[in-house]
């Protein structure tokens, strides 16, 4: 993946252009060109050269206007195109050929309208490729650089949406981006918003990469309808991870309805939601489900860096609200601080006897009207040595009481570094709410939202402590699906070759060979299974027999199985019947599978065989390559881990051997990434500790051409 990693251009001159040409500049205040002119001149702090281009004007509001970009001697860093759709392609070509570095195209009416539009977009890409000019858009709201107070955009909202700050926003659609931006009214500061519309050239990944390096951005948020290029996206996310910048992502298209709507909106393919979420988790991307959740998580991350070990104190003036918050903290698996003795003493000295001082702190509404007591109690809570976050749920607007509370939150926050997180639960806002926002404390809107945000914050901190910054995902994307399969017998032979234990089996081609094979390998009780690359559900078609206890039984079973096989495929597709010894109990059956996701490349899936995965969806996933550590984490993430560890007095199973097999499988697929599309062991029997694992069934699918199957030995087969 290192190669695509280097494909990110420096966007500094897009975000901070030294000179700008506004093509389609206009005097008409309601036109796109007129509104952009106003944003650039009246509502921005732009000190560079602004050129106006429009063949219809000689000057605009007293400024010189030229008919074409070619008339500007020194090509500007950035051209903004506010021109009609039919003029876009020619204008872009002129800009590119003239040496413009970046072009922003507001104009819509291209890919989103159908085939003809997509053809024009292909021409835009050609222009970008041939001239080196990078294109942002078309069909986009432009770029908002709040930290530099530079509005490369036409929306009249720009003049309002200017609360700068450390959050960078990279979106596909404009609507959800602006929904996030308006969190400014809650005090959330946003430094930069990039929204590349149809993304013919620059895309979300480019903006994430840029924001990862931008010194004024601490937290990156992104909304996605589909990841267009998985390896580039992963490279950008890893770049951010290595530079310590969290990414908060809202990915639309997890359900069939959402995927369809997203595709009709931005023509993005949503991808498989479970894989997408697993990849996000692995890359440390914090996935959220809604815009308000995104605001809460990002605002918290903009205030503090998590360690993953945070403990929470609750401070309220309502006992029921304090109980509700504590309850949610418990349900979320978070930890309420156990206050240090000096904290309890301070609270006891400060508050009356009927207040609750042990976390949660309930000072009661009567106490709150005494500003001095309120300040002292909150400060004691926030200064507790074990407290990392103070949650302050405020159930109601209570006039003077909540105004005093708001002021004390802001005052105490100036004196302590522990983040104080207010939750303004009421639909009634007022002076207290305003005080909190103006004090920079960005209130959340519901206890559940706040607890979820704190949970995500802490989980991200935990991920950081585990993150191996040297790790690079394989990212091998196939241009077509793997379409050739190996039979169980041949797959097992391959597994044996790479050091993964399989039963000592052999393939019989006749009833006599079956009887002989039973004697040779079955060890008293045998298993017989049809051997054919073209049959995948062997049990369903009568291709499996268990507990074969004699030569005669083996010979008979051969006949039955072979006959059943002929009912579903040609004789030439049947290699024979595989005979193996039955594995004695106890063992736990798990599944280890690797498949090639079309967006992100090879992904390993682990879970309990049978009901575990299929009924309960109890799986964990990782991108390849696996390490012993990541394989072990995969196992530990599932609920069936309890079973493997030795559940309720039963024996512990050989997790070390399981880990080793997962890594071997990963290593093999990494070596043959171009050909192996899928490799699954299902079930893999995990025997008691020290006794290893055995692959009871397995399948490999590969691409045509040079398959991994060329590695196959002729060895154990007759």
């Amino acid at each position: 993946m290192n190669e695509s990693h280097s494909h990110f251009s420096d966007l500094s001159l897009l975000v901070h252009p030294r000179s700008i040409a506004l093509i389609g500049a206009s005097e008409r205040p309601d036109s796109i060109g007129g509104r952009t002119f106003e944003n650039l001149t009246a509502w921005s702090d732009f000190r560079g050269e602004l050129y106006l281009v429009n063949p219809g004007y000689a000057e605009i509001h007293g400024r010189r206007c030229v008919p074409s970009i070619r008339r500007i001697e020194q090509a500007p860093d950035l051209a903004i195109l506010a021109v009609r759709a039919d003029a876009v392609l020619e204008t872009l070509r002129e800009c590119g050929e003239h040496g413009v570095k970046f072009a922003i195209v507001f104009t819509s009416g291209f890919g989103e309208t159908g085939e003809a539009g997509r053809a024009i977009e292909a021409h835009m890409r050609e222009i970008a490729a041939s001239t080196g000019m990078r294109i942002y858009g078309p069909n986009c709201p432009g770029l908002n650089n709040m930290n530099a107070r530079l509005g490369l955009c036409f929306s009249p909202a720009w003049r309002i949406d200017q609360r700068s700050g450390p959050i960078g926003v990279a979106t596909q659609g404009g609507g959800l981006g602006r929904a996030f931006i308006q969190a400014m009214d809650r005090g959330v500061g946003i430094g930069l918003w990039c929204s590349g519309g149809n993304e013919v050239d620059l895309e979300v990944s480019d903006f994430i990469y840029y924001m990862a390096e931008a010194p004024d951005i601490k937290v990156i948020v992104t909304t996605l309808e589909g990841v267009r290029n998985g390896p580039r996206f992963m490279a950008a996310a890893l770049h951010a991870a290595r530079l310590g910048k969290p990414i908060v992502a809202l990915k639309v298209g997890k359900s069939a309805y959402g995927a369809k709507a997203a595709q009709s909106h931005t023509a993005a393919i949503a991808g498989v939601a479970e894989i997408n979420s697993a990849v996000f988790r692995e890359l440390g991307i914090i996935e959220v489900d809604d815009i308000d959740e995104m605001i809460d998580v990002a605002s918290l991350l903009s205030r503090a860096e998590p360690t993953g070990r945070e403990q929470v104190a609750v401070y309220s003036f309502s006992g029921g609200t304090a109980a509700l918050a504590s309850d949610m903290i418990g349900l979320a698996g978070l930890t309420l601080t156990r206050f240090a003795p000096q904290t309890l003493q301070k609270l006891r000295d400060t508050l009356p006897g009927y207040a609750a001082i042990d976390n949660p702190v309930d000072v009661t509404a009567e106490v709150l009207v005494n500003a001095e007591v309120s300040h002292a109690a909150l400060k004691a809570t926030a200064s507790d040595p074990n407290t990392d976050i103070v949650l302050v749920p405020i159930p109601v607007e209570y006039g003077r009481t909540t105004t005093l509370l708001g002021a004390s939150l802001v005052d105490v926050q100036r004196e302590v570094s522990t983040p104080i997180v207010p939750v303004w639960m009421s639909d009634r806002t007022g002076e207290g709410h305003r005080t909190i926002i103006e004090g920079g404390l960005m209130p959340m809107r519901a206890v559940g939202n706040a607890v979820l945000a704190v949970k995500r914050f802490i989980e991200y901190g935990r991920w950081r402590t585990r993150f191996d910054s040297a790790w690079v995902p394989l990212g091998a994307i196939a241009s077509h699906a793997a379409n050739m399969g190996l039979s169980e017998a041949r797959t097992k032979a391959l597994l044996a070759k790479i050091g993964i234990p399989v039963p000592n089996g052999c393939v019989a081609r006749t009833a006599d060979e079956a009887a002989q094979a039973w004697r040779d390998v079955a060890n008293g009780r045998g298993v017989m299974k049809i051997a054919s690359a073209s049959i995948t559900h062997k049990t369903d078609m009568g291709g499996v027999r268990l507990g074969i206890a004699s030569e005669r039984e083996a010979a008979e079973a051969f006949g039955d199985i072979h006959a059943n096989g002929l009912r579903v495929c040609a004789a030439s597709d049947i290699e024979g019947v595989l005979i193996e010894p039955m594995l004695p109990a106890p063992f736990v059956e798990v599944v280890v599978g690797i498949h090639q996701d079309p967006v992100f490349g090879h992904v390993c899936t682990f879970g309990l065989g049978g009901v575990g995965i299929e009924l309960f969806g109890d799986v964990s996933r990782r991108l390849l390559p696996l390490t012993a550590q990541s394989a072990r984490q995969m196992i530990e993430e599932t609920r069936c881990h309890a079973l493997l560890k030795g559940y309720r007095g039963q024996c512990a199973y050989d997790v070390d051997a399981l880990v080793a097999v997962m890594v071997k499988l990963s290593d093999f697929v990494v070596r043959h990434a171009d050909s192996v599309g899928e490799l699954e062991i299902n079930p893999l029997a995990v025997r008691p500790q020290g006794q290893g694992v055995v692959a009871l069934d397995a399948i490999l699918c590969h691409h045509g051409g040079e398959p991994a199957a060329s590695q196959l030995p002729g060895g154990p087969f007759r």
Copy 2:
């Protein structure tokens, strides 16, 4: 439970008193008595007789004041006590003896402060019992009757919180109650708020029962920290269910932190969260997790009655937001309407080509500024014959655009009955937001919140179609835990007696008897288990042996098992060793257990044996008595139902026999409700369809005295 059902007094004269005595009335505006006086006289429409009582005044603000309640000739319906804690008991006694019907006690300093306070509360209960006067409080905010504009309360917030409506609120703590009340600022109308503080007499159940009958209340919401009296609570909830009024409940204390905090706040015991939630579900109580969720669900229910078959349309001016909403609808398992052809035609005729007309509808922001088009498109969407709810997510405040949208929502809602549900996602409010609220549309605050509310709404509709209004839960509460157990053998004998199949086993007392028993019952392969009422985890202590294949093995196993038994209990506690035939595969092991919850009485639990319940928590629960229908629903609610139905080509199992056993078990426990504390079959083997079920292991725990064990036959035991 019918008896406790009748214990609800008529609260009409508490909620609508014809005459009130304010005891502790005061001229001082900041005192409790003074504030209550102001609420009653300046901010209420009370037309009845108001008596003022205070020995310190002859008159207050020109009204006559008497020194004692005794001086009021005709006892008033209601006395409000705004007196010091040390005067409360005597005042209450005077009121009760004088014939007052209801007393509201604001005063705090009783049960919530400790033992001494609880002793005084016991005296209050005595007064209520001996005089018949019902007590509301102490330590409570009073009663707010918005629909009659009558503030029986001291809070200065009363004058603001007067948006009347069809929602009734019954809370334990005051803070969360008022948090809900302030949803009035979102346009939510609330008719009545009762909050009984320490609940020495009247409690949440009484208010729910009253609201169920009150003609001005359509929806009941309640916040609880603990259910004090399960049968009364269930009776009140059932009363509401039978009268068609939904209850929305927020129950604090689901986690250990929450339970501890709730107990320290209201001294309520939280109970077991899973049981509590199961009982709520069964009674049709809509359990929510947070106040904002409660507001959304209640406001939706106040607008429409669900059928359970609702389909949803999404209408937005942002493609990304429409996709997000559709995605969440899909993830929630809800159905997006497939528009009728005439709807699509109308939308096609109305909207430009680049708008999306197939649900979700994305009209785009440009279209929205044309009021006529916007109105027509929304009306077509809301008039679609298959659409039951229109969700309108509004991602941003867009000045004129969103004001027009708000107005068109309100206008169209006047013309169609399909509820239009706006979601105001932005932190920026404004004219559009105000328009929506004033038009009565109660905007929700996030797409996720709205989808969750719609889901709860529809689920409640489904519950209604299933609800059997004749059903009455058993509600047998034990005063102490069941402490006597029967051995497996004796429990199985009991099961056999009531018609539940058990293996044909017998108990051996010596090795010789074991060999003989093996010959008699084992049928080639036997199971041997220690028979002792005092051993519950037989496997862990070496008390179980499987696959016994000969008399000799049986005799040896007897020795081993018996010796292991002697290590954990006395010889006199060992009945012997149970010998049974091994059940041949295939079968599915499930668990059917009944236990006596201390709050709600006997509850049945069903789930997959082993990993299903313990690793994956895949269980369903019902109050006793079960019917064939409710037992079948229990099975269908679990994910393991897929296994029983015949999973991936495997055989289907005998669900009919399973249902029959569950009902038999329920019938037995109902007959012996006073003595049976717990009866669990674990595992119950469910064999292929037509082959029935077999109880492979079982245990019964009962109370001392007359246990169900008296039903035991001597029969199959030697």
